[in-house]
Amino acid sequence: MILSMLENGVVVKKVCEVTDFDDTCNVLCVGAGSAGCYAADSAARQGASVILLEFGDNIGGMSVCGNVTGYYYGACGGSYEEDDQKNKADTVFLTNGKHWEQRQIRLTERLLKSGVKVLCRHSVIGLYFEDNRIIGVLAFDGKREFSIKADITIDATSDGHLIRMTDVKKYYGRPSNGSFVPFGVIIKYTKNGRLLGHNNDSGIMDHYNYKDFSAKTIIAHADLSHILEEEIVNCALHTGVREGLSYEGEDTLKHEDLLFGKCSDKVLYWAYSDLDRHGNLRAAEDDIFQNWFVISNLSTVVISIPVSLGSVVPKNIKGLVTAGRCLSFDTYIQSAVRMNRDMIRMGECVGVAAAMAALSGVDFLDIDYEKYLMQVKENGCFGNYSHITFAFDNSYKRYLDKMKALGRIPDKKYENLALNKTIYEPLNFDADKDFHLLKTDAPGVAIWSCYISPKRDMIKTRLYNEMINTDDVLYKYNCAIALGLVEDKKALPVLRDIVKNRDCFFFTDNRRSNQFRSAIALCLIGRLGTTEDLPLLFDILSAEEIERQMYHTLQPNYLYHTYDDRNFVYFVMLTYACMAIYKIYERCNLDMKQLHDFFCDLFNGDTVLKRIVEDRTDSPAEEETKEFVEYILRLTDYN
């Protein structure tokens, strides 16, 4: 038997012999967040004996200790709805239905009823392996170490604490440099007799470096002192994980598969969200993601996401599955599958499957899938989807309708954003049918439809003809963007014009995170451009650039970006210009050493940084700029 532990972030293995485990169960669930609690509960309701271990004092994870009490995306259905109904009927708390304490109470009731043994303040410090099968864990209860044997173990720790004790291949953080953007401290305060929330992000940190995690969390808490004029009711005890750890699973869900409609034949459950990215460093993202998020400007399109059975199972490891935030997804899917409801429903589904595996003595992937489907559909947690769908889901319209139903006056700015919108607008991506949208200020659906159209040559011809023959600037520019996306260099002259004009026209496809035209054009010039484009691109990096009008007209607005602590337009132009130059240098085999030296000079000192963050201190933009500088210097490093 091997005891595998994590020491200083490294897997350490020791040969050992355990004949008498201190405790045994069918299903051991580690981490009592939303996913963990519902996994433990559903496994127990299937008839399995279940132990649930939690590091902290309280169960519920981010929905309790992190103060994340609301929903926005994530599909409905499953056991939690019964809890929500009880919460709505409950008049004990100041706000009905959305109090974190209510969630904890409902979960406690649920776990007591289903007979789950809940052990708080317990750490798992090692995994027992027999060959490639995990047969139990070594835990610590604050006083002593003890062993638990389990048929199957669920890692629901959100940061993949158990996965990290294995040799499975792991992927950390954002692709640019492995960093993380956790959401920081959510506080609850009262105003006019209502309980409200405020989020203070912790900025970029390495979640898995305990010193960095501690220092950044403390700074995020310190920063909250500005809100003390309100009555603070509660401060979140937990920091959430965004873009955390993923790993190589028996199956890995990738965003390009999703965007092109590929779906596993063994779906664990369906999640529902947009491909949300936090921060603003889109220039460092991969091409397919940029095609969707930047060039087609479809950031807030929601997608039904088929999470496969194999994407919760680490490759070549038996007896261990994951539930919650740590899954075998690429970074883009991982940031999408994170919503409260999706976490809860995933937990419930994993619990059912884990119990079936444990009780029938088979591996997780070998369960009777039809029987599993029947059970989770009966529970209602599977999700009402049978194929991947895309839609605009207008949450502002949803908000507006709710306010009207409650007889309250809605916030004017949200009312405007919801104007003339329906809540759910399904998208089919048909180039012929969508083409007319290129004449509008929301052309994203048409651009993406052209990109994925099987009739690419015909589309190219049509786009080119329309582009050169129209006098309508909006239409011409949109055709050029679509033409650029289908990799036709004939788009270049118009794309160059957009950048030359420093065109700061923002599209309006989304309820937030909209892109502007020069940024999109720069992104495409980087892919299609030649040495001829370099003077235009270097010009953007010159000292005079910041004086241009385009950098001084945009007001802070959630419609465009989530941070208002930077010169957003300049940050975007600068990062895309750098990336475009790098791509052209690479493609044309130019002197990369010369470019690296240029970037070293450009970013030496804080001149550029000051243009971005102006006089603000401790800005997330500062960290993101530094992240980009490190990234571009690493890319161009000729050594």
Binding site: D57, N58, L94, C120, S214
Partner: protein, 247 residues
């Protein structure tokens, strides 16, 4: 291998007082937030008046005052946690969050090898001294912060339902703190019990917040926040203790 002068378990005000006075101190806190002694359990409603005796204590008081934490009728209890973090950041004290001590072994060279469980798994910290300043006591309380228009109508019902409890005004108008003694160590179960009892009373009072545990006074030999009713008093106790011990 870094060797700290002192490793402290628990991040209360006494701990940061100690760390302020003694360089090369590291504080291990098993929660993801600091100040689990005063702020989180809403113990700060109970502070007494205390005049700082040191320059550092005065600085901390100035910080509290700048955030309006003392002296008016509308203090923010949770503000104490933000204030502490502000102080830690400003003084660059080393506090490790989500850091649980698993083992302490004294080596032949008299240095302590402290195994802690963190986000990086098991990690070793080394120190010449180890001080446990965490709050632990047989006397355990939970506080319910609630909103009520007429306290007189609900007071008796609450006090008789929750045996041995006390009610006090909680700074903001119409806010009260109900301190409930409890022996169970499972916070989930305790909250459920408190809730179920509250439901059965049918009173016109709504819960805003149910606090984590706070401890009654520990034996006098132990330096920890639960022995003090004022955070600055606790801070200075830690500060003086460090000065005395570092001589």
């Amino acid at each position: 291998m870094k060797i700290y002068n002192t490793l402290i378990i628990g991040s209360g005000y006494s701990s940061i007082g100690y760390a302020t006075a003694s360089p090369e101190t590291v504080i291990c806190e098993e929660h993801q937030v600091c100040d689990t002694g005063f702020c989180l359990p809403l113990r700060s409603f109970r502070y007494n008046t205390y005049t700082p005796k040191t320059e550092e204590g005065s600085q901390l008081l100035d910080l509290f005052n700048s955030l309006s934490l003392f002296g008016t009728n509308e203090q923010n209890t949770n503000g104490f946690e933000f204030a502490m973090c502000k102080y830690i950041a400003k003084k660059q004290l080393e506090v490790l969050l989500k850091c649980r001590v698993v083992r302490i072994v004294r080596q032949p060279d008299l240095i302590y090898d402290v195994t802690v469980h963190t986000n990086e798994g098991l990690t070793h910290l080394f120190a010449k001294k180890v001080l446990d300043m965490s709050n632990t006591s047989d006397e355990r309380f939970y506080t319910v912060l609630f909103v009520c228009d007429d306290i007189e109508k609900v007071k008796d019902k609450l006090l008789s339902a929750y045996c041995g409890s006390q009610i006090e005004s909680a700074f903001y108008a119409g806010r009260y703190a109900l301190h409930i003694p409890a022996h169970d160590t499972d916070e989930n179960r305790i909250k459920l019990e408190i809730y179920e009892k509250w439901c059965s009373l049918g009173i016109d009072a709504k819960i805003l917040y149910m606090s984590p545990v706070f401890y009654g006074a520990e034996n006098a030999d132990k330096l920890c926040d639960c022995n003090y009713d004022n955070p600055i008093e606790a801070f200075e106790a830690g500060y003086f203790y460090a000065k005395e011990n570092d001589k």
